[in-house]
């Protein structure tokens, strides 16, 4: 069996038909990780021993006829999702030695199915960044060109799926962190509706925006993974009391008559011509499939990046105040309590994390709160209103996932303002709590993948998967050299 060309449902069949055992499958991936990952650096921690042990247990379930969709399926998990007894670093010196005493709810749900953890994937430190180059270790490379960034913050998860060192992975998305790296690495990433997946055990960055979601080779594979991890959780009051159905139930249904909106502001000057062309061509493909294209506007988009950084910064400043070096995390030195905390934080956090904390405290501080933080919240309400207006005349929205393809390492990730502005296409989705899926829709003249995003109504992930799948059935993906 060629692990470079299989889907999650294909792996399921192969395991259930005994074409390959769960242990053999885990060994194949571990072997590939050992060959490929030194170049890609997608993993921070590879859990070879645990993978083989859980594969043995999974095989017992399969042999007993008790397999579920992910029994024996190997996965990579972003390193900000807590795994009991397995180091979880957030790619930060602050948590370099942190071993969680509990599992995130998504891990408990995957364990119930008997999945196989291959390892923890790299990311921007504390999920703050779009390049995976703010990681304190394992600065991941793009499998399509290792001189380029994989995107971020879930750059490890996206690069791993792209290089085929796991068939699928979990990431997290606060302002585009699943979709943008999926776009840069030529894979499919789904950011679920806020509340769809429990955040319990996800190390918090911005609690009103964070959401865990799948990165995989297709919309259908994303649906399989989302089916496993979605649902209400008593440990997370923000998890939605909305029933979970089969997110893949609409796959194969015609999209004829569907209305797809293209907000003009997403196709402005800051978006590369080749990206605009690829997304416009994809829109025409949808027309051929019977969809109607709807022209529309989102006039508040030009304020979205600032609103996002003010809200997420404020929440980050609050969330990251827990890192004091006392109960866990890097412990600094100092003769007083205050000195010790300051030393712990100054040595533990990297430059980008410090900037976000400073920005958040600035926006929340006396004299600035109304002008920045409350204004950002007002913009959040305005963005929600504008999305609602678009959904009065459309079923889904189509935009580029990022204004550019993956850029060269060192080209722009050292300029914070440039980096922040590059998030323009993704942040409004988190602000409005909506689901969105990014999928490849072409390649630029350098052969780098271009991604497009479909944005749906709240809790309508099934329509996004249906629409993405309809496109993917006719799209010829070009694999990178690690998958050829």
């Amino acid at each position: 069996m060629d692990i470079n060309k299989v889907s999650l449902s294909g792996l399921r069949k192969a395991l259930d038909n005994k074409e390959i055992s769960a242990v053999e499958l885990a060994e194949e991936y571990i072997s590939k990780i050992k060959t490929v990952d030194p170049e890609i650096e997608g993993y921070i921690t590879v859990t070879e021993e645990q993978a083989l042990e859980s594969a043995k247990r999974a095989q017992e379930l399969i042999d007993g006829g008790d397999s579920r969709p992910l029994t024996g399926i190997p996965l990579a998990i972003k390193d900000n999702i807590c795994t009991d007894g397995i180091r979880t670093t957030c790619a930060s010196k602050m948590l370099e030695s942190f071993v969680p005493p509990y599992n995130a709810t998504v891990i408990e749900k995957l364990n119930e199915q008997g999945y196989v953890l291959l390892g923890k994937s790299s990311m921007d430190e504390f999920a703050m960044g779009g390049s995976t180059q703010t990681a304190a270790f394992s600065k991941t490379k793009n499998p399509y060109d290792t001189d380029r960034v994989p995107g971020g913050s879930s750059g490890g998860s996206a690069a791993i799926v792209s290089a085929g060192t796991a068939p699928a992975a979990l990431g997290s998305d606060t302002g585009g962190s699943i979709r943008q790296p999926s776009s840069f690495c030529g894979v499919t990433g789904l950011k679920p509706t806020y509340g769809r997946v429990s955040r319990y055990g996800l190390i918090a960055f911005a609690s009103s925006l964070d959401q865990i979601g799948p990165i995989a080779n297709s919309a259908e594979d994303c649906g399989i993974l989302l089916n496993a991890v979605a649902g209400t959780d008593e440990h997370d009051a923000t998890s939605a009391r909305v029933p979970v159905k089969d997110f893949n139930e609409k796959i194969g249904q015609s999209i004829a008559g569907m209305k797809i909106a293209l907000p003009q502001e997403f196709f402005g000057e800051s978006t590369d011509e080749e990206v605009k062309q690829a997304v416009t061509d994809a829109a025409k493909e949808y027309e051929k499939l019977g969809a109607t294209l709807v022209d529309c506007h989102m006039s508040s988009l030009k304020y979205a990046v600032a609103a996002y950084y003010l809200i997420s910064g404020a929440e980050a400043a609050s969330n990251l105040s827990r890192f004091d070096g006392i109960k866990y995390g890097l412990r600094g030195e100092g003769r007083s309590f205050d000195e010790m905390i300051r030393d712990s934080r100054s040595r533990g956090f990297g430059a980008e994390v410090k900037r976000r904390i400073l920005l958040g405290n600035y926006a929340l501080s006396s004299g600035y709160y109304d002008a920045y933080y409350r204004k950002a919240l007002a913009l959040k309400q305005q963005i929600i209103k504008e999305y609602n207006e678009i959904y009065e005349k459309a079923d889904v929205i189509l935009t580029p996932t990022a204004p550019t393809v993956a850029y060269r390492i060192g080209e722009q990730e050292t300029d914070p303002v440039k980096m922040y502005l590059a998030d323009i296409c993704t942040v409004t989705v988190n602000i409005a709590s909506l689901p969105a899926i990014s999928l490849p829709c072409g390649y630029n003249s350098d052969g780098m993948p271009i991604g497009m995003s479909l944005v749906g109504k709240r809790f309508d992930e099934a329509t996004l998967i249906q629409t993405a799948d309809a496109y993917q059935r006719n799209f010829a993906a070009v694999p990178n050299k690690y998958r050829a």
């Binding site: 109960k327 866990y328 995390g329 900037r355 400073l358 002008a371 007002a378 914070p416 303002v417």
Partner: protein, 92 residues
């Protein structure tokens, strides 16, 4: 953005920078705040009666005591003494 503001933010954020780092941070933060200033261009007022992500707080779980994680596991990420967290002396 001036040195006094940076010093104030460092105090709020519990972060230290040396003089050279502080200069760089001040320049970076000035550029970032300039970007954030775009929100001032639009005339909008936040309605705080409308924004709770549809969370019904009446549906949160009951406040009942349940077994928690083992103490030794919770203390495994630090160097405890006598089952306690150790901190520098706070009172002279």
């Amino acid at each position: 953005m001036d040195i006094q503001t940076i010093d104030h933010l460092c105090e709020l954020s519990k972060l230290n920078f040396n003089d050279e780092e502080k200069q760089k941070v001040m320049e970076e933060m000035s550029a970032i705040i300039e970007l954030m200033d775009t929100v001032k261009e639009i005339d909008l007022t936040y309605d705080d009666t409308k924004d709770n992500n549809s969370i019904k707080y009446s549906e949160v779980r009951k406040d009942e005591a349940k077994p928690s994680y083992p103490t030794e596991k919770l203390l495994s990420n630090t160097e405890p003494q006598d089952n306690c967290y150790v901190v520098p002396k706070m009172v002279e």
